[in-house]
């Protein structure tokens, strides 16, 4: 015991890395490759612009992690992003001079509400979240375009787009700041009591419930946060690239891929949020690399597919080995 208490911190770090070790390796490799293909990549502004591009995915991954780690899925984030952008445009269409903080706040709240609905349906009605959020995806896409008659009726003003496009002090993109803040917040959350109970819930719902954890509540909160994260991403994406009827297309899968790439286990209870966000970074870096390498536009997705499978496959392998090594073998038989 005493030995343990001494080295506790060392072990803590080791575990945090251990769970996601492969992703950090991958990230390192890809970043190195980037440095080779494009020496200019690490000049502050070009690197910052890379982070800025990665920001939405990172935030989505953080949100997705919360949902996945408590044993659920959120397929609706992509639709939330699209909806967010379109709705913002629509709002500005009707109220051209609405203050951007208000609109942003509205979006975040709306995102939270959608997440809440997902959570309620999943917990109260016991619909598997895969289906709940899949349905929500259809509903959102349908509803938004039904409302806007197919395409948003307004443009996004520069003020609103600052967050996604502009920079503070002329050099530090707001998106990067938002990303850092969100990331820090997420990490703190996962260290907090709520975070730990959330993970425990994903690990063993019954245990958590019998320990007094309000399982349903915890899950709903996770969904709400995922929704808010998605809305934040919407603000960034909308800001970054303006109105588009397909702003969030495919984001749900990218986010989940990123999280899994980070060594987080679908089904819940295992994996760290840092690794999840690192997964998002690696994914974005990968896209950039493929782009710079000038891989034939068409083949990109093939390469991407292979790398994802390989990385996750390796991850699975390494992961279990790291686990076992630290276990008391005589009892080291997981059930």
């Amino acid at each position: 015991m005493t030995t343990a208490t001494v080295t506790r911190h060392g072990k803590h770090v080791l575990r945090a890395l251990g769970t996601g070790a492969p992703v950090f390796v991958l990230l390192a490799v890809v970043l190195a490759a980037l440095a080779l293909t494009d020496p200019g990549f690490y000049e502050p502004d070009s690197f910052l612009s890379f982070v800025k591009r990665a920001a939405p995915l990172v935030i989505l991954a953080a949100g997705q992690y919360l949902v996945i780690v408590c044993g659920e899925f959120d397929l609706s984030v992509g639709a939330v992003v699209t909806a967010g952008v379109v709705v913002a445009a629509e709002l500005y269409g009707s109220f051209p001079d609405a203050p951007w903080p208000l609109v942003t706040a509205l979006l975040l709240v709306a995102g939270g509400v959608i997440g809440g609905v997902n959570g309620l349906i999943t917990t109260a009605l016991r619909v598997p979240s895969f289906i709940t959020t899949l349905g929500m995806m259809l509903i959102l896409e349908g509803a938004v375009f039904f409302w806007t008659g197919g395409s948003p009726q307004g443009a996004l003003p520069a003020a609103f787009r600052q967050l996604g496009r502009g920079s503070a002090f002329g050099w530090l993109p707001w998106a990067v700041i938002v990303c850092l803040v969100a990331g820090a917040a997420a990490m703190l959350l996962m260290r907090s009591d709520f975070g730990r109970t959330l993970v425990a819930t994903g690990d063993s719902e019954r245990t958590a419930a019998l320990a007094g954890v309000r399982v349903a509540r915890a899950r709903i909160i996770a969904f709400v946060l995922s929704g808010v994260a998605a809305a934040t991403a919407a603000v960034l994406v909308g800001g970054f690239s303006g109105v588009s009827a397909q702003a969030g297309r495919g984001y749900e899968f990218e986010a989940i891929t990123a999280v899994v790439l980070g060594g987080v286990v679908l089904g819940g209870g295992r994996g760290s949020i840092v690794a999840a966000m690192a997964g998002a970074f690696s994914l974005q870096a990968l896209f950039t690399l493929l782009n710079l390498q000038g891989v034939s536009g068409a083949l990109e997705s093939t390469v991407q597919g292979c790398i994802v499978i390989a990385a996750v496959g390796l991850g699975a392998a390494d992961w279990s080995r790291l686990r076992r090594r630290r276990t008391n073998p005589s009892e080291g038989q997981p059930l």
Binding site: G40, Q153, S244
Partner: protein, 413 residues
């Protein structure tokens, strides 16, 4: 003795079953009622605006020299018809007799439309045009629209369904050129069919309404760059996604032009029509090639994103080609860009309705109704850019005179 045997055995069973079923079904029942046309779909040499199918020479299997030249010629010609109503104009019309379709329209006309879908702003603006046009004609008492949501399979069923609905005329906007041919041929037997936008590989339709076409579009854009960009300049070509015939023809035409020029096409990238991805692609291209001297686009959806990418990178926007989409025209005016916006005009959505009525009145219509395909240029920019329209609106909609404009198009009066 346990698992292995059945496990190996089973797939064989299925592998055998499926084709067996398929062949048996086809073979045994070939004699039964068939909704299919008696023989194979009409061979190439059809009137399809965009040739496709197995490669017919050229550097792209989409490139068809004859069609290419025809379009470039057409682009220069003066269309017949009212100058202020491009959607009623026609190029090199070869009229076809329609008396056999003549019908007493007093009892009201039931017009049907099988739409590929409304999955992009272009089609949404278009559909609004068409509905408004229908509104103009009191004799049209019923207008049925079935939306295939981009599914060829569904559109085939839609067409079959509509032919059974007692329509007086059927307008078809095919989702894919090749795949709808049989269904359309089938419909031709029942009702007068008007095909527009994309073609089908059959000339059974009474008329095929479409603008000059993709080659002209691509060429106009490319020629503009050839003219504006200094020789040896680096060109970035941004395409939506592969496999879309209309877009492929635009690119193949552009390629021809670029090959002839001094310009150096450094990158051809697909953007999936996603502005975010477009910005990334452009930014990366800038770092990779240390600057871009011209941007060619096969459609305007992401033009603004591209422009912004240059701004964000703190570089001047080079000559760029877009489309007649409101946000691009706006940016063009605000930022004083060197640009051109070839159009695939949405006013073509009005024409089929007009054509349908002509047909039902027995008036002759062109076998292929070629509409003009003007481009927005430096000089015509102000005339097309109408303030207060939504960003994804298409300026060349010929809708200014339609009832409910601009509100129904999302604009402000």
């Amino acid at each position: 003795m346990t698992a292995p045997r059945p496990l190996r055995g089973r797939p064989l069973r299925v592998r055998a079953l499926v084709p067996a079923a398929a062949l048996l079904a086809t073979g045994l029942l070939a004699s039964c009622t068939s909704d299919a046309p008696p023989d194979a779909p009409a061979a190439p040499g059809s009137t399809a605006a965009t040739a496709d199918g197995p490669g017919s020479g050229g550097q792209s299997e989409f490139f068809e020299q004859a069609e290419y030249e025809r379009q470039l010629a057409l682009a220069k010609e003066q269309p017949q018809g009212p100058a202020d109503k491009p959607w009623e104009q026609m190029l090199r019309p070869e009229f076809t007799d329609t008396t056999r379709y003549k019908k007493d329209t007093a009892g009201g006309v039931h017009l049907c439309f099988s739409n590929a879908g409304v999955f992009n702003p272009w089609r949404q603006v278009g559909l609004k045009n068409m509905r408004a046009e229908v509104g103009l004609h009191k004799e049209i008492t019923e207008f049925t629209v079935l939306d295939a949501q981009g599914k060829d399979d569904k559109q085939i069923s839609d067409i079959q369904e509509l032919t059974g609905k007692g329509c007086d005329a059927l307008i078809v906007s095919p989702n894919t050129t090749a795949t709808l041919t049989p269904a359309v041929e089938q419909a031709c037997a029942e009702v007068p069919v008007i095909v527009f936008d994309r073609g089908v590989e059959t000339d059974c339709a009474v008329t095929f309404v479409n603008p000059v076409g993709g080659y002209a579009y691509g060429a106009v854009a490319a020629d503009f760059l050839v003219e504006k960009v200094k020789p040896g300049g680096k060109i970035l070509a941004l395409r939506i996604s592969p496999g879309v015939d209309v877009l492929e023809t635009r690119w193949s035409a552009a390629e021809v032009a670029f090959d002839k020029s001094e310009l150096d096409v450094v990158d051809v990238k697909f953007t999936d029509g996603d502005p975010a991805k477009t910005k990334s692609v452009v930014t990366d291209a800038l770092t990779r090639h240390g600057g871009i001297d011209g941007v060619w686009m096969d459609s305007g959806a992401t033009a603004v994103a591209a422009v912004e990418a240059f701004e964000d990178a703190g570089q001047d926007v080079p000559p760029i080609t877009g489309e007649d989409q409101q946000d691009f025209l706006q940016a063009w005016q605000d930022k004083k860009l060197t640009a051109i916006a070839p159009a695939y005009p949405t006013f073509q959505w009005r024409t089929p309705v007009i054509a349908a009525l002509k047909i039902l009145q027995g008036q002759q219509v062109p076998k292929e109704w070629k509409l003009p395909q003007p481009s927005v240029t430096e000089d015509t920019l102000d005339e097309y850019l109408r303030p207060g329209m939504p960003p994804l609106h298409y300026a060349m909609c010929g809708c200014a005179d339609l009832p409910g404009f601009p509100e129904d198009w999302g604009g402000k009066g």
